[in-house]
Amino acid sequence: MVTDSRDPSARGAARRLNAPRPALVEQRFDGTPRVVNRELVTLVREEWRVVDRWWTDEPVDRRYFEVVLESGRNVCVYHDQELGSWFSQNA
């Protein structure tokens, strides 16, 4: 795998694979995504929760959605309940 050599943080240090990226999401009243990165969601295929590390200083509480966008792309996004922000990630 070839990394982006322009990124100084990529040199010489190990980093996480599949790190979450911030996503622009508009949600409905029930918390499900309506628009992801300015594309309308046509279908919510699946929804699940990951609650882990609640005994540490960095607890994980995420609500994942696998959605199909208007363009036909499959995208996985989650709402971080701790931070109150949306991220996209390949789950």
């Binding site: 040199r11 190990a14 694979l17």
Partner: protein, 394 residues
């Protein structure tokens, strides 16, 4: 006629050459470090005290508290054995060494030279020297010659005529046959003690009960096959030694010394361009003992880097600082060139191209630009903790 020259307890005798006084007291060869504590060969004085080879160390010390344990000296054993073989070869015998202390040879080629079988074998005994207490057995078959040597007294020559071979073998103990301890126990359980008793059994029944080992033992009990002796090719002394002014235990110094020895050995004209197949690294330890390791190379080579890579790790096994390092070429390959493959194995070219491509990427973008994925917690529910991207050197 095939002759077998036997020197019982050769490893102990060789180790005692530097300490002859110990030969007169109860002494035994210690087990190798890390092995089961069983005694090796013992001196005559130890045998008189009730100590036997193969005895457990604790039992032996309880039997004879004054027993002296002699440390193994593999370099001395190798050197002395080579000396014995050379003396036999100088006397005209084409020898085939079986193990340390056991060598077989044909007398046919030298019978005319010495005036018969008996004078030829006397010459062989004289060549080895009485200090080793050698004994010789001779017969038409190799196993019978070995058995005759095993029962002969020191300095005795025991010749068994072809017609008398079976009757000679019959009263001898089964322990002369090359069988495992479990097989001996099985045979003893069946009431068999002598080679003749095994020889009298039907061949098929022995094979059915004891398998391949039993069939081989049964054949040997009848004298064995008439196999020819393949005399070894007299080895050319090809060795380099480096003596240190004081004891050295530093790995860096040892590796440099090895590199220097390799360069000197590669420059020897006797090699005639032939690559090494087998090398031995030996050292004289600071406390007087010795150490020796043999490395057989997968492909014969004369490349300094590869030789260094295969012999270098052996230096880490040295048990103590050393005062002398010796490198011997045990076996050279016959060829002088390297046969290349006509068709490269599948995938070889693609792998080479990929490696070259990655090397170029790394060269142009710098360290850390080529990475590999390492799974660290594939079971994790949090996707980003399952694997890491780690920079790698191409």
């Amino acid at each position: 006629m095939i002759a077998c020259l036997l020197i019982p307890g050769f490893e102990l005798r060789a180790a005692l050459r530097a300490r002859p006084r110990l030969a007169l007291v109860p002494a035994a060869l210690a087990a190798e470090a890390g092995e089961e504590p069983l005694l090796g060969p013992v001196t005559a004085a130890a045998e008189v005290s009730g100590v036997k080879p193969g005895m457990r160390l604790g039992e032996a010390l309880a039997t004879c508290p004054s027993l002296v344990l002699v440390e193994r000296d593999p370099a001395a054993v190798e050197g002395e054995w080579e000396e014995v073989l050379r003396r036999l070869e100088d006397a005209g015998f084409a020898v085939q060494p079986l193990e340390h202390g056991v060598v077989v040879f044909e007398t046919r080629g030298v019978e005319r030279l010495y005036g018969g079988v008996q004078p030829a074998l006397e010459r062989a005994l004289a060549a080895v020297g009485s200090a080793w207490d050698p004994r010789i057995g001779a017969a038409a078959r190799r196993f019978t010659a070995l058995a005759a040597a095993s029962v002969a007294r020191p300095g005795q020559i025991l010749i068994v005529a072809e017609k008398e071979e079976e009757s000679f073998l019959q009263p001898l103990p089964l322990s002369l046959l090359p069988l495992t301890a479990a097989r001996y126990a099985e045979l003893e359980g069946l009431g068999l003690r002598r080679i003749g008793e095994l020889a009298q059994l039907p061949r098929g029944a022995v094979a059915e009960r004891l398998g391949i080992d039993g069939r081989k033992a049964w054949r040997l009990a009848h004298g064995g096959r008439k196999a020819r002796v393949r005399g070894r090719r007299p080895a050319v002394e090809l060795a380099e030694v480096l003596a240190f002014p004081e004891a050295v235990g530093n790995e860096l110094t040892l590796r440099r010394a090895l590199g220097s020895l390799l360069e000197r050995l590669l420059a020897r004209p006797e090699r005639a361009g032939r690559p090494f197949r087998k090398l031995a690294l030996a050292a004289r330890l600071v406390d007087g003992g010795s150490w020796r390791r043999v490395a057989t190379l997968r492909d014969a080579t004369a490349e300094l880097g590869r030789l260094r890579a295969s012999l270098g790790p052996k230096l880490a096994e040295l048990p103590a600082p050393i005062v002398e390092l010796r490198l011997e070429a045990v076996e050279l390959a016959e060829h002088t060139g390297q046969q290349l493959a006509l068709v490269e194995p599948a995938g070889e070219e693609a792998t080479a191209r990929l490696r070259e491509g990655l090397r170029q990427v790394r060269a142009s973008t710098g360290t850390g630009s080529v990475c590999t994925v390492v799974e660290v917690a594939p079971w994790s529910r949090i996707p980003e903790t399952r694997a890491l991207v780690v920079p790698r050197d191409v």
